[in-house]
Symmetry: C2
Subunit: 236 residues, 2 copies
């Protein structure tokens, strides 16, 4: 493995270890010692990539945003539903998403910007809804900014509730209830009838995205990461 | 003032001071010293009522649940809307609600039961929706348990988002967006047309409830507290 590839992989290993510690203990109780133990790297390697615990937390939040992605669908509004169902799936199975979710929710008076991921998500969802509206899929009465923020805020609470009651086991179901209750006031009837809301969709979409990302890596492509970076820049 | 009355007031003063410290610093960073300074009571008085910081936190969460109340309305579903708008108002203005909200959201590995307030709220809302359904106000297709939990989960996230972006300044608006998007799939059309969703309703309802409670205190009545206690018992 080239030295650069190895550094990238070490960085990812450290980030996943840090995310799992943040997920379990929260920012305040997380220790560098515990992160080192889980990552199985030296102190020197960790500090080379991340000078402090705050840097680790910010990198986890940043990595989460880079991971935002949906597969293009014929109906744009389907991508809105899919973005939610993929995230619900990953909050159950992906260390980075789980750690970032807890960091984003904690209100600790440390210097982390907990608004970052909410702003990035709202902008991403607003973009999807705007395009869906331009295509005539969304009712004229919908204020896309308000609706995007409703989705992001409600999602944050539903995942918190699901975490408390079932460690995210019922999050996909809760999200489906949200969509069933809100889509009839968002989608025009002809589109509403065609949307796929089943809670199992998240697992399938996640698998498709992963195999797609592997293919791009082989080509040397970095489209997903570039889209994520553009998204971060677009956040207010 | 009789000795018992004085003890009740001292207890409330301590609870409000503790709630404001929990709201600002969170459970982990809150100190008994800071709570004593804000309450202006002696260490002995505080420990007489609350042997530990955990006892204080549990009492704040308990007090919040006792505070749940709505004024009876001709349309039962209006009480569902009102419960949300009163809480949104109190999260902006009431120390106990603000402190309890932060405690309920924090996932600290302390022994607080963060599910308590979510369970109590879900049961309360489910009761309102059940009665509304029995009166024919709610569509047959609605699963009242799912819908009650959607409301509680979404509310938790919306208040968290509002806290981060505007210190609860826009929570009533966010809640109105939630109701506008969900009530068309909950209420039958004739009821939907009559529901009052304006964000200013919270302030007015809070004032009415307070003057009502003062009247009951004068009568020696404790109906509201009894209803709250029953509600706690009913929580799973």
């Amino acid at each position: 493995m080239a030295r650069q590839d190895r550094a990238i992989r070490t960085r990812r290993v450290i980030l996943e270890a840090a995310a799992s510690v943040f997920d379990e203990l929260g920012f305040d109780r997380a220790t560098i010692a515990e992160i080192l133990a889980r990552a199985g790297v030296t102190k020197g390697a960790l500090y080379f990539h991340f000078p402090s615990k705050e840097d680790l937390a910010l990198a986890v939040l940043h990595e989460q945003v880079l991971d935002i992605a949906v597969r293009p669908q014929q109906i744009k509004l389907q991508e809105f539903v899919d973005a939610g169902q993929i995230l619900a799936y990953r909050l159950r199975h992906d260390a980075i998403q789980r750690g970032a979710a807890r960091l984003a929710i904690e209100q600790g008076s440390n210097h982390l910007d907990r608004k970052q991921s909410m702003s990035a998500w709202s902008s991403f969802v607003e973009g999807l809804l705007k395009e869906a509206k331009a295509r005539g899929e969304v009712m004229e009465s919908v204020n896309v900014r308000d609706t995007a923020e409703l989705f992001v805020g409600a999602f944050a609470g539903l995942q918190m509730m699901s975490k408390a009651f079932s460690d995210q086991g019922d999050l996909s179901h809760r999200l489906t209830v949200f969509f069933e209750h809100t889509l009839p006031t968002i989608a025009v009837p002809a589109i509403l009838a065609k949307l796929k809301l089943d809670p199992e969709r998240g697992a399938q979409l996640d698998a498709e995205l992963r195999s797609q990302a592997d293919g791009e890596d082989a080509d040397g492509g970095e489209d997903a990461a570039e889209a994520g970076a553009a998204l971060l820049d677009a956040a207010p």
